[in-house]
Amino acid sequence: MSTLGINVQSVDKSFGRGDARTVVLKKTGFVAETGHLTMLIGPSGCGKTTLLSIIAGTLHADGGIIEVLGQRLDQMRGNAIAKFRARNLGFIFQQFNLIPTLSATENVSVPLVIQGLSSTRAERKAREVLEWVGLSDHADFLPAKMSGGQQQRVAIARALVHEPPIILCDEPTSSLDSENGRHVMDLLRQAATQRECLVLVVSHDNRTYRFADHMAEMEDGQIFRTLKTKDEIRTHHPPGV
């Protein structure tokens, strides 16, 4: 079963004022479904990160409808959005953004702590998820003691630990080698299929395109093409090119 997890209609966003004003999103529309890995691709500066930020509620759109899990984010205010995020969204960042002074387990437990769980319960849950990503033997390591791939897997565990319906990923593989990148993407796919998540990946790493269920291509602030099947994706983005 697939439903519309994300439904964005005619969103505008511009930065700056006067002559310095740059329009990033122009009446952009975008949808993504639960249970699929949707990939948002496009060249640098096309506005895909801005769109992701708006979907995450960390950036306010100038206008338009942003509906996530049936909630109108554009009509919610600061703390309500924060609460919504804490409950429903998992994040994976390009630079992993693990807190360097916390161990892997502690880092993973952060979203649960934000939701108000006690640290012991949060850490027990975190260990389970770390096992799922295959890092149970690194549970007490500090991020600096781990490789990039391991760090990103910790980040994935962190994004999954509170079982959010939506996981947003910003270039998750761009600072990883191909081996680790593949591993990460595998995990994300499993999250989408096994855990019934909506996984939205912003990427311009064509090595990862084959993991996508759906694909939205963006240019100059517009989604100019949406590919709905693996075949279409393979046609337009043949692997190994």
Binding site: T49, T50, L52, S53, A56, T58, L59, G78, N79, A82, K83, F84, R85, A86, R87, L89, F91, F93, Q94, Q95, N97, I99, P100, T101, L102, E106, V110, P111, V113, I114, Q115, S119, D170
Partner: protein
Amino acid sequence: MIRIGLKMLFGDRGKYVMLISGITFSTLLMAQGMALFCGLMTWTYSSLRNMRAPIWVTDPKVEQCNDSKPMRDTDITRVRSVDGIAWAVPLYQGISMAKLADGSAKMITLIGLDNDTLIGAPTKIIAGRLEDLRMPNTVVLDDLGVERLSEGRERPIGIGDIFEINDREARVVAICKSYRSFTGGPFVFTTYDRAILYAPNQRKMLSFILVAPQPGLSDEALARRIAERTGLGAFTHDEFKWSTVMWYVRNTGIPINIGTIVIIGFIIGAAISGQTFYSFILENTRHFAALRAMGASSGELSAMILSQALIVGVIGYGTGLGLVSFLGNNLLRLGKVPFLMLWQITAIVGAAVMIIVAISAVIGIVRIARLEPAIVFR
């Protein structure tokens, strides 16, 4: 969340030590300055501490206890004629020169105690007997006096040794402990009549009258009554103490000089801690932004920053206080440096430290509140 905040703080050992040192240094400067000031102020009223009496009667123009404007002998009977007096005895206090065996002279504070009662006599006698003061030409020397008057002698001046005060013989019969005076001269105690013989002859010699009220009458009430009936100045112990301290505050540059040290301590502390804390926040901006993106509210982030600042403040303050106490205690042993640690000082310094960390925290909080969480996606 606070736990995470503290982990972030403790994890960065270099910054943490830097932050603590800033507050410690600031606490040290401020507390040391204030303790020095308070210590110096206690020196100004050491006469009051050495000669304990409930009420001090003085010439009406006297404001502080090192000032001697003598009264007439009959003033003591006038004071005794005020109702409610349990007793009233004379006290001579004056600066004299003590001549040593080698011919050098040292300044001393000569104290003449009432012949009969020895009221105002030192309470801590280290050696000898106070009673022997009733023998002719005898004095009691304080420990500082022993140090000063022993210069040029083969062995320290002791009981039975003789020196001269204004060309008159003075024989030491006892050695006492006393509080140091602001003028720096040691205290030499003798009887009132003998003090008058020792001191340079003046028309009036009665420096102070020490008075105690009858049971059931407060010191203040009796002091007011004495002042009203006799026209003399009358202070309770505490009033005279504060009058003395305020006189020194008004008439010397001590408060300004030491106040400057304290303010510099505050500014340095605020600058170092504020700066370090700000850079700590700046360095962790990305992590705060990530936390924000993951749904932490502004209140939670503020609480995190506040608790970080608070811990830095408390630990830096405690360390600084311990350091200043250790320093002060060892200075006190030497006995040459004024140092008085009051709970008020710890409270004021604590408050100042809290202001410093509050300022630092507010700067951090403002910085984080302005943060666009979207930066984590860039």
